[in-house]
Symmetry: C2
Subunit: 135 residues, 2 copies
């Protein structure tokens, strides 16, 4: 089995927030949505069913933790949780705070609009608030 | 707390496949994709984090079970797992077999194309094969 290494597309499109027991917690660079991405630090995983049952159980608790952080920070109308991976084959789970007023509502966010980068200061502020909410 | 009742839109857009311990297992009437929908039989749930931890753990095992049934039946290129619920507020989890050749690849399936109904005979055959794969 090879070593886990974050897929280069995920690395390019996100900023690392923190490490959970299982997952790398990443913030999407698209400022349109409060958008975390969890990447289980296991090599050669493509789908959730590739994880063993113990890791699946931990993943569910980490999804819950990421969801609650976004809830506490943003009081969104919905949380979307999705493991799609049609573009990037490495297993990753989107946890996205959605609002009736957001750019893609009620459709899915993926591919709906080009990413809108954070200003540098806003990114630092967002990272700090997410890290605090997750700690 | 009110009694669980399947949301009318989910009832209209799917056919019941079976019951798991936690979830109703539904087949989408859209024949474009092998597409199961899991609905935890708990009242007043909107998001995965609304489930208590024990139910979340069971849900993960049921997602795994539904995924493996689709894998065994269709040998897809990917399984997409998603709790979106922007259209239908009742918590439901999509488990979809995806192919490089499918109508929406590599985009998300939701809203990509109008549903293409199964012919009556194909629906019965699909239901039978999914029930067998899940049993």
């Amino acid at each position: 089995m090879s070593e886990f290494e974050l897929h280069q597309t995920l690395a390019a499109d996100t900023v690392e927030v923190t490490r959970f027991e299982l997952c790398h917690v990443l913030l999407s660079k698209d400022s349109r949505y409060p958008w975390l991405i969890l990447v289980p630090a296991r090599a050669d995983m493509r789908d959730m069913h590739d994880l063993d049952p113990a890791d699946q159980a931990v993943l569910m608790t980490e999804i819950d933790r990421a969801s609650r952080a976004l809830l506490g920070l943003h009081a969104p109308d919905k949380i979307n949780v999705a493991a799609l991976g049609n573009m990037v084959p490495q297993l990753h789970i989107h946890v996205v705070a959605r609002f009736h007023s957001d750019d893609a509502w009620p459709g899915p966010i993926w591919g709906a609009h080009p990413p809108r980068p954070y200003a540098a200061e806003a990114l630092e502020k967002t990272l700090a608030s997410v890290r605090k909410a997750l700690s």
